[in-house]
Chain length 135, copies 2
């Protein structure tokens, strides 16, 4: 049960194509992929950045939880995803500590990873995602 590093930083944006172009043009980063994540109702685009990624996230439909975030905040950094070892043990550990979880069991994230979100209510209003790579 370990934190290995920052898997990605999730940035909510309204105009995915325009923001991809800005990040590529200004920061000389390369968009390495786009993926629709149906379970979360979002489309993501990611840029490799050392051992981490920057992930642009946009709603894939009107029902996405990202939609309400965007209408309240506009484009903004949405969450931090930590790469962990032993996500099931992490969730048990957090539960035992009384930390509120959005996902009590891992669900499927981008690239088939197992992911789970911790409730911002338990983390100073910050949305933290845990992610474990496929074995």
């Amino acid at each position: 049960m370990k934190i290995l590093g920052v898997e990605h930083i999730g940035i909510a944006v309204k105009e995915l194509d325009e923001c991809i172009e800005k990040f590529e043009n200004a920061l000389d980063l390369k968009c390495e992929g786009r993926e629709a994540i149906e379970a979360s109702g979002v489309e993501v685009a990611f840029f490799g950045c050392g051992s981490s990624k920057i992930e642009l996230v946009t709603p894939a439909g009107t029902e996405s939880p990202i939609s309400s975030f965007l209408s309240k905040r506009g484009n903004a950094i949405h969450h931090i995803c930590l790469r962990v070892e032993g996500i099931d043990e992490w969730l048990a550990f957090l539960k035992e500590k009384g930390i509120e979880l959005i996902d009590t069991v891992p669900r499927e994230g981008a690239s088939g990873k197992r992911v789970a979100f911790i409730s911002p209510r338990s983390m100073c209003n910050i949305l933290i995602e845990l992610s474990e790579d496929k074995p």
Copy 2:
């Protein structure tokens, strides 16, 4: 002129001590240091996280730009700091591309690093900091 990775993720918080305790307790991270950065009017606390850091930032006085962010948003992820090689060349490159800069020359950041912020107006409303390690 290269991006080497994510140096840190800056999180603006109102209650530094309380948030340090939450991050230590829930995520089993260790606060590795606290530092007042007078040039920016903030106090920071950081946690190592793989090759990156999580940095909690709180206003050190009433004049801090973090104060207005906090009163509008409450605790929230504030900026992404990218570790770069050649920060002077980066700033020249960005200027040439017409990207608006908050710092046209690097200033001193935490641990004596040379840092500069790009204006969110040019980056889809996202605040990006560039940071170069001391040689």
